[in-house]
């Protein structure tokens, strides 16, 4: 039982990071119906920036989180302007062709970012500086490292902030309207190019914080994106790709499922869980738990 509770705490922490990656995917899918294959590299940049800002510059952890979110959001906006908008403009009337070009362009960007990270930070894994209390939280025989609370807490605050942004702010409302019906949103006075920049910026910022949090629990390396992106993508599919709430639900479910497998079966099967779930969902419920089984968009 203790083992299960302890694993559940780990599951929540890891799950919150999966949820952030799933959100990063779902934000662009919902708004633009495009999957950003460079999400993993924006995640990786978050981990490296977190290390640089805390270790080299000496920022407190929470300041590093905010600074990383802003910096990688700006990279996301540049990414939209350089790797997305020119293709979108030139192929606006050809959605099929646009999809393939965006896949190529986002994969290209991911290769570029991986190599840029290798040039800047080197190919070896970098450990996260010791910013947390090394003495874990202990309660009735349960031992939970302090950073797990930070990771879960930061992720939840970010999810709350995203919700406030989308529901309560002028820009957020415009983004929601554009995600539902671009043309009509434009008729209301929403600037679509600005909305697209915000979409990529928000997605990148969320993904980067996910990376920073994973970094805080382990370390950063140039190809770390790939592993977590598959988990995050699985979480997004489980909740319903393109659904904001679904991404959060899927992330936590996947994190908990993995931790329960570790607790009751063996950590060897941890990764099997995610990919088995991915296959099951794609086969039997491709729209996920929170979206209607058949989606019709008029």
């Amino acid at each position: 039982m203790l083992e299960a509770i302890q694993q559940a705490a780990t599951g929540l922490a890891i799950g919150s990071v999966y949820a952030l990656v799933a959100l990063a995917f779902s934000v662009t899918v919902r708004a633009l119906n495009q999957i950003n294959f460079a999400t993993g590299e924006l995640f990786m940049l978050g981990a490296y920036l977190g290390i640089t800002l805390t270790a080299t510059i000496g920022f407190p952890f929470w300041v590093a989180v905010i600074a990383t979110a802003i910096a990688v959001s700006v990279i996301g906006v540049l990414f939209e302007k350089i790797a997305y908008r020119p293709l979108f403009r030139a192929n606006a009337g050809h959605p099929g062709r646009l999809h393939i070009l965006i896949i190529c362009s986002t994969i290209g960007t991911s290769i570029f970012l991986q190599n840029a990270a290798m040039l800047i930070w080197g190919a070896q894994a970098l450990p996260f500086p010791k910013v947390f209390d090394p003495e874990p939280f202990r309660f009735q025989g349960i031992v939970i490292p302090v950073e797990y609370f930070w990771v879960t807490g930061v992720a939840m605050v970010l999810m709350g902030a995203l919700n406030v942004f989308l529901q309560g702010t002028w820009i957020g409302k415009g983004l929601r309207a554009a995600a539902q019906d671009r043309e009509t949103a434009a008729l209301m006075g929403v600037s679509l190019p600005a909305a697209d920049s915000w979409t990529f910026g928000v997605s990148a910022g969320i993904g980067a914080v996910g990376g920073l949090l994973i970094g805080a629990m382990s370390f950063a390396y140039p190809t770390m994106g790939a592993a977590f992106v598959l988990k995050g993508f699985t979480a997004a599919i489980m909740g319903g790709l393109g659904s904001i709430r679904g991404a959060i639900v899927g992330g936590f479910l996947l994190g908990l499922a993995e931790s329960l497998v570790i607790a009751f079966i063996s950590s060897v099967y941890k990764d099997v869980v995610a990919f088995a779930l991915l296959l099951v969902f794609l086969q039997f419920r491709p729209t996920g738990l929170l979206l209607k089984p058949v989606q019709t968009r008029v």
Partner: protein, 235 residues
């Protein structure tokens, strides 16, 4: 107020609007009638900046709209009720109305307009917290009109406001259009329901395969045998 001067609009190569000219004066209700595919919606999308014209100019007051973005055109005072209503289905009625005031920027005082729109459409006040997708077709049309009015337009464009509605609801919508004009907003609408459009408008244009075929006071057009045969179902 609005002057469209021989505009040409095309999707890829084929022109959809060929040298279309028309004008709307302040305080009028002007309708454009025509069959499916005649170019009515294309004209509406061009007026609101969603489509660009290859040639010709569109002016509104003393402003040239031809190169403005949709957002700039709303701010200039033209708002549109799109074909098929196009309410934001996953937003509440209230949020849809707030989206209508989007061009007036953050923090604009919209309470007055909300009250006015609820006085025109009391049903929207009752349903303000409901998701727009739960409304009936007629209620969605009212919401779409209310949403467009939230921008405080000088000119309201309506694209097929009667589409898919029961006759009783069509009559109600047209009464609302007359009421909107009485409250000081100029109206330009396109319709397949020529009988209603001609009955409620002051002047009308007839469009066929991208060209303006006839123009004149709505009463005269309603009495024109050619219009009667082609659009009013009288033989």
């Amino acid at each position: 107020m609005l002057t469209v001067n021989s505009i040409v609009v095309a999707y890829s190569a084929a022109p959809v609007l060929r040298e279309v000219s028309l004008d709307v004066s302040a305080g009028e209700i002007v309708s454009l009638i025509g069959a499916n595919g005649a170019g009515k919606t294309t004209l509406m999308k061009t007026l609101s900046g969603l489509l660009a014209c290859i040639r010709g100019t569109i002016t509104f007051g003393d402003r040239n709209l031809t190169t403005l973005s949709p957002a700039e055109i709303v701010r200039a005072g033209i708002s549109q009720v799109p074909e098929g209503r196009r309410v934001f289905r996953e937003m509440s009625v209230q949020e849809n109305l707030e989206m209508g005031a989007y061009s007036r920027h953050h923090g604009a005082d919209i309470a007055g307009e909300l009250t006015e729109i609820f006085s025109i459409f009391p049903i929207l006040r009752e349903r303000r917290g409901q998701l727009a997708e739960t409304l009936s077709g007629g209620e969605q049309q009212m919401l779409a009109i209310g949403r467009a009015l939230m921008a405080k337009p000088k000119l309201l464009l309506l694209d097929e406001p009667s589409m898919g509605l029961a006759p009783k609801m069509v009559a109600r919508i047209f009464e609302v259009i007359a009421e909107i004009r009485r409250r000081g907003t100029t109206v330009f609408l396109v319709e397949q329901n020529a009988a209603m459009a001609l009955h409620y408008s002051d002047r009308a244009y007839v469009i066929e395969t991208g060209r303006i075929l006839m123009a004149g006071p709505s009463k005269d057009l309603a009495g024109n045998p050619r219009v009667a045969a082609a659009y009013l179902g009288k033989h």
